[in-house]
Symmetry: C2
Subunit: 163 residues, 2 copies
DNA sequence: GTCATTTGGTCCTAATTTGCAACCGAAATA
DNA sequence: TATTTCGGTTGCAAATTAGGACCAAATGAC
């Protein structure tokens, strides 16, 4: 994928890496333990040429790393980097949203739990520096230190042209 | 977008709605306060026919609702539904990841803060039912009550053919 | 040593999706 | 009555995707 979105916005930056039908499914498979080309292909059904392209791009983006494993033939393993592992938050947020909004209670195909106890996770919740739980409606986005000179009005808009 | 991913996985379900270059940017604009066709178009640079298509699909998916606003001419306003508002968690997770991994410290273009105090949010953190903070590496996905009969081995794989 | 098999791709073509520009109808406004 | 604005639709060229054929390297079987 060519860079489509101006990188002046964290969401645009995120979508430049993951804003297509397949890249995030590859990330999911990596979290579920897939490492091999054929494994990604079987589990996602993605076309080989597209998978090849996506793996290259995820490696370029520093999400996955590619390792030569000396088994018979030319074999490689893809693994999540630290940068890739740190996507766990986003993955969990997506799974919780889908479980809540896309499936009936009791019909969730996947559940998130603590490894040892099997305890389910509570919904992710915003917390401030004092440790106080916030309501989502009280969380807002404001221009950060690296914001372009023309600042965004709270809850208003500004341009984000594709390149 | 036709349904590409089998809906047996929350991530696949999520990507069936948001797995393209533009839909999530429309969601972002909605969170930032955009309501009008022309506003989405200006702020994202998306082509009109594609925007028209994406808005229809987001309305169909129950993420946005379309309202006839009786201003001059035929004018409509799109607004996030409750289902749409509940995507805030995912949006925040994405923004936090991007700020951490895509920008240098001090270069973040957007910051998440508590509305009244201006306090920055802490990173989203998993918590169990006892209120204990968990480490991400201890959070795992297990088959849920609606899992297909063949169960997924922990951190292993299973098929997810596109339709 | 030779043959077959597996993995991890590349290449080609057809179908689909996108970007872009032109056009259009309804309602207000001049 | 003519003009403007909004929210689209339509048509076309360009880019991207899906699907299949093909292929090289490395091993194991014979």
């Amino acid at each position: 994928m060519t860079k489509r979105h101006a990188a002046i916005c964290p969401i645009a930056g995120f979508l430049n890496i993951f804003g297509d039908a397949w890249s995030w499914l590859v990330v999911r498979e990596s979290f579920y333990g897939a490492t091999r080309f054929s494994e990604y292909q079987r589990n996602t059904g993605i076309a080989k040429n597209v998978l090849s392209d996506r793996l290259k791009k995820l490696v370029d983006a520093g999400i996955l790393s590619k390792h030569d494993v000396g088994e018979r033939g030319s074999r490689y393993a893809y693994r999540l980097t630290e940068k890739g592992e740190s996507l766990g938050t986003v993955l969990v947020a997506m799974v919780q949203w889908s479980n809540d909004q896309l499936f009936e209670p009791g019909e969730e195909p996947v559940q998130l739990v603590e490894r040892d106890s099997g305890e389910p996770l509570l919904p992710l919740t915003p917390v401030d520096r004092q440790g106080r739980t916030l309501r989502w409606r009280d969380v807002i986005a404001v221009p950060g230190p690296g914001a372009p000179e023309m600042e965004r009005k709270p809850r208003s808009s500004r341009t984000d042209e594709p390149s």
